[in-house]
């Protein structure tokens, strides 16, 4: 991995991102509209390198690992590409076309989040700062 020293670091950063996103009214509403159980699968970088977000029923709950229920959507990619993606430095369409991101399930809900990626990147930067991961911020 180019940006992370172990498989736990990225998950810590991404969970922090979602924790902060939930506090942002616009992103929180956007996530609720997705209305899916999503598994972000980075296990190619380690067996514990994944987390899930449950946006169903008006909630936004995020937690480490694979969900116990079958996810509506699974996005599999490397933790480095996930870092680029949350930093808005990876074109998701291009990444899917080039198989850097593999998608299983309906990605329709995520389209609703696409317009918010710039804002996500700003909050992600704040999350990295909060965790003293400032050196990982992509310029």
């Amino acid at each position: 991995m180019e940006y992370w020293k172990d498989q736990h670091e990225p998950i810590t950063a991404f969970l922090k991102l979602f924790e902060k996103a939930k506090q942002d009214p616009e992103l929180s509403e956007g996530l609720k509209k997705v209305n899916q159980l999503i598994w972000f699968d980075y296990t190619e970088d380690g067996p514990d390198c994944s987390f899930h977000v449950d946006c169903r029923n008006g909630n936004v709950l995020s937690s480490q690992g694979k969900p116990s229920e079958e996810p509506d959507l699974t996005m599999s990619l490397s933790a480095d590409d996930a870092h680029r993606s949350w930093s808005n430095k990876l074109n998701p369409v291009m990444a899917i076309t080039r198989r850097k991101i593999r998608v299983k399930g309906s990605a329709t809900g995520l389209l609703k989040l696409a317009p918010k990626l710039k804002k996500v990147a700003i909050i992600y930067e704040q999350a990295l700062n909060d965790l003293n991961f400032s050196d990982k911020i992509l310029k």
Binding site: V93, M94, R98, S106, A107, T108, L111, P115
Partner: protein, 623 residues
């Protein structure tokens, strides 16, 4: 011959006859089928002097080699000829159910010339062809006519029908299949109308398709169908239709607002996007023959000012053309306007764009109530658009209807007063609902060089800039930045070749995004037996692109015509592309160098044409 049948119907409508003709096999290998083969037929048999609506004008409908194959995305065909809207060469693509039925009847295409003495139809029942009078159908809308056809010829009969717009020779009349699928662009409904031809009906008794390598094709077909169906794009299209990403498009500045005067309108984005259509009005999903994507919408609006019965719903282009372009965020109104255009037989892109231009002209007092018979054209006034303007256009029943029936370019010429500043065209064709300033600067280039005018389906540049194309086998590995001119000329050169392959094989551009270059080659070889390499296939694409330019050259188009309206290049004043300039001249100059086009004439030199097997064509243009 494999895949193709080698046979076409040649109908001389003045004589009231229709005969079978065969085409040389080399035509298919050189020009593929569809739009490419239509171009070759016109080159050999068409008149460059005949006006588009004159009886001697040719209207050519061609299938590609895959029509009839049970594979998602390949039930399309192309129609081509001299466009009444632009005055030069053009073509239009349509999905639905006509293409496979024509192939099963034993034909690759239909060439129409002449004019029927009285309104009539062509009826194709396997290899039996009749030309029949239908005086009583003239004046009917597409919906009523299609229903009559179903009643008279059975539900399995497939048809191409024109509405009142085609009968009245509106320059952007379209041709409809089953009320839901359109040969929308460039006005071929008017050409059919000029020939007094209300409909073409086809019925086959068996599904006949004879490929070169049946076993290999079947295996590849299954593989590709699974790949197409499972792709993210297909799933999104299936769920929310072609407007699925309208909201995202608004945020990048791709969706035009109020005649391209604005690049951002957040409130409208959610109101008009595909998921809203699904939630509010969708009753069913529909598909072209054999397509598992099923991106077509069936909608119903039971009540309200824009209520409509259950029926075909709008595509993205229609939603934007009758929504954001007119300053409206009323989704129900776009559904009703789309239904009305389908029934009258009007291209929704040109209709919406021409009305948007007129609304801007009215706002700026270049168009007044004196020219509109008292009709006020105000942004978002969808009642007036639906109840007054569209019918008047289709029937050319008023000063306003007559003016707008010409399309925006000619209408601007007619009223003057600086109104050409507000055009959104290239070579006389109104731009689709993708704004180059936000959607991608390469679109400005490909709109300008497209043979039919501003067009997003002539080639996959839109998808390339979006990041949805990856063709390492032919050198397309660019990670394009939509808001830059970098690598756009290089990409455009590949795009025009792939676009020619798509439109000549008549493959859906949504479905074929999943097909890799080596798979394309195998598909051609297993279906049509072309025995191609990658280089052969790409050469065929380039050959078609060049031939289309040669046709336009003979219609008087030169390099100086490869332009887009100033409005599409002027920096946006809001949204994501605010203030960004498009380096159009640089992209065009580089493209001309790469494509070996003469900087004045706009066509390749003699040697380039000879090297790509266009020697006889070179002899005509380089005498």
């Amino acid at each position: 011959m494999f895949g193709n049948t080698g046979k076409i119907i040649w109908a001389d409508l003045s004589a009231g006859t229709a005969e079978h003709r065969t085409l040389p096999e080399q035509y298919y290998r050189n020009f593929i089928g569809g739009a490419g083969l239509a171009a070759k037929i016109f080159w050999e048999y068409g008149s460059f002097e005949a006006q588009p609506l004159a009886p001697e004008s040719l209207l050519i409908l061609m299938n590609g080699p895959f029509a009839g194959l049970k594979l998602s995305g390949c039930s399309r065909s192309a129609i081509a000829g001299r466009s009444p809207l632009t005055g030069h060469w053009g073509d239009s693509s349509c999905g639905g159910h006509f293409a496979p039925e024509l192939r099963y009847s034993g034909f690759d295409g239909i060439v129409l010339q002449g004019k029927l003495e009285e309104p009539g139809i062509i009826l194709i029942e396997d290899d039996e062809i009749s030309v029949l009078p239908v005086r009583e159908w003239w004046g009917m809308g597409v919906i009523e006519t299609t229903a009559l056809i179903g009643k008279k010829y059975g539900k399995k009969a497939r048809s191409l029908v024109i509405g009142q717009a085609g009968e009245n020779l509106v320059n952007y009349a379209c041709i409809m299949n089953e009320c839901h699928h359109a040969f929308g662009r460039a006005g071929y409904g008017a050409v059919m109308g000029s020939k007094n031809l209300k409909a073409i009906i086809v019925k086959s008794s068996a599904q006949r398709y004879f490929p070169a390598d049946s076993d290999s094709l079947d295996s590849l077909r299954r593989e590709l169908d699974a790949k197409i169906t499972e792709s993210v794009t297909s799933q999104v299209l299936h769920e929310n239709g072609t407007a699925a990403n309208l909201e995202g498009g608004v945020h990048i500045g791709d969706v035009p607002i109020k005649n391209f005067t604005s690049s951002f309108w957040e409130e409208m984005a959610e109101e008009l996007t595909g998921s809203t259509l699904t939630e509010k009005y969708l009753t069913n999903k529909a598909a072209c023959s054999f397509c598992k994507i099923a991106c077509k919408r069936v909608v119903e609006i039971p009540e309200g000012p824009f209520s409509i019965p259950k029926g075909p719903g709008p595509e993205y282009e229609t939603i934007a053309a009758f929504g954001s372009m007119l300053g409206s965020k009323d989704l129900a109104a776009t559904c009703k306007a789309g239904r009305l255009c389908n029934d009258l037989g009007l291209d929704t892109i040109t209709a919406g764009s021409t009305i948007a231009w007129a609304m801007e002209a009215f706002e700026k007092s270049a168009l007044t109530v004196l020219e509109t018979d008292g009709v006020e054209l105000n942004w978002a006034d969808m009642d007036t658009v639906i109840d007054v303007v569209l019918p008047q256009i289709a029937f050319r029943s008023s000063k306003l209807g007559e003016l707008l029936s010409q399309g925006s370019l000619r209408a601007a010429d007619m009223i003057g007063r600086g109104s050409s500043e507000w055009l959104t065209t290239a070579k006389g064709l109104e731009a689709p609902m993708h704004d180059p300033r936000g959607g991608g600067h390469g679109l400005a280039l490909t709109y300008s060089i497209s043979h039919r005018g501003a067009c997003h389906t002539a080639n996959p540049m839109l998808f390339m800039e979006m990041g949805a194309c990856y063709y390492p086998e032919i050198g397309f590995e660019y990670e394009l930045n939509p808001m830059s001119s970098e690598y756009k000329a290089e990409s455009a050169l590949l795009a025009v070749q792939i676009g020619a392959i798509e439109n000549s094989s008549c493959f859906c551009q949504f479905a074929d995004r999943e097909i890799a270059i080596p798979e394309w080659v195998r598909l051609f070889n297993f279906a049509a037996g072309y025995d191609w390499t990658v280089e052969d296939m790409m050469s065929a694409g380039l050959r078609v692109f060049y031939l289309q330019r040669l046709l336009n050259y003979r219609f008087g188009i030169r390099a100086s015509d490869d332009l887009v309206s100033k409005r599409l290049l002027d920096p946006s004043t809001d949204g994501a592309p605010e203030g960004v300039e498009i380096d159009f001249d640089c992209m065009k100059k580089r493209f001309y160098q790469l494509a070996k086009l003469d900087g004045t004439l706009g066509i390749p030199d003699r040697r380039t044409l000879e090297n790509i097997n266009l020697s006889s064509e070179a002899n005509v243009v380089w005498q």
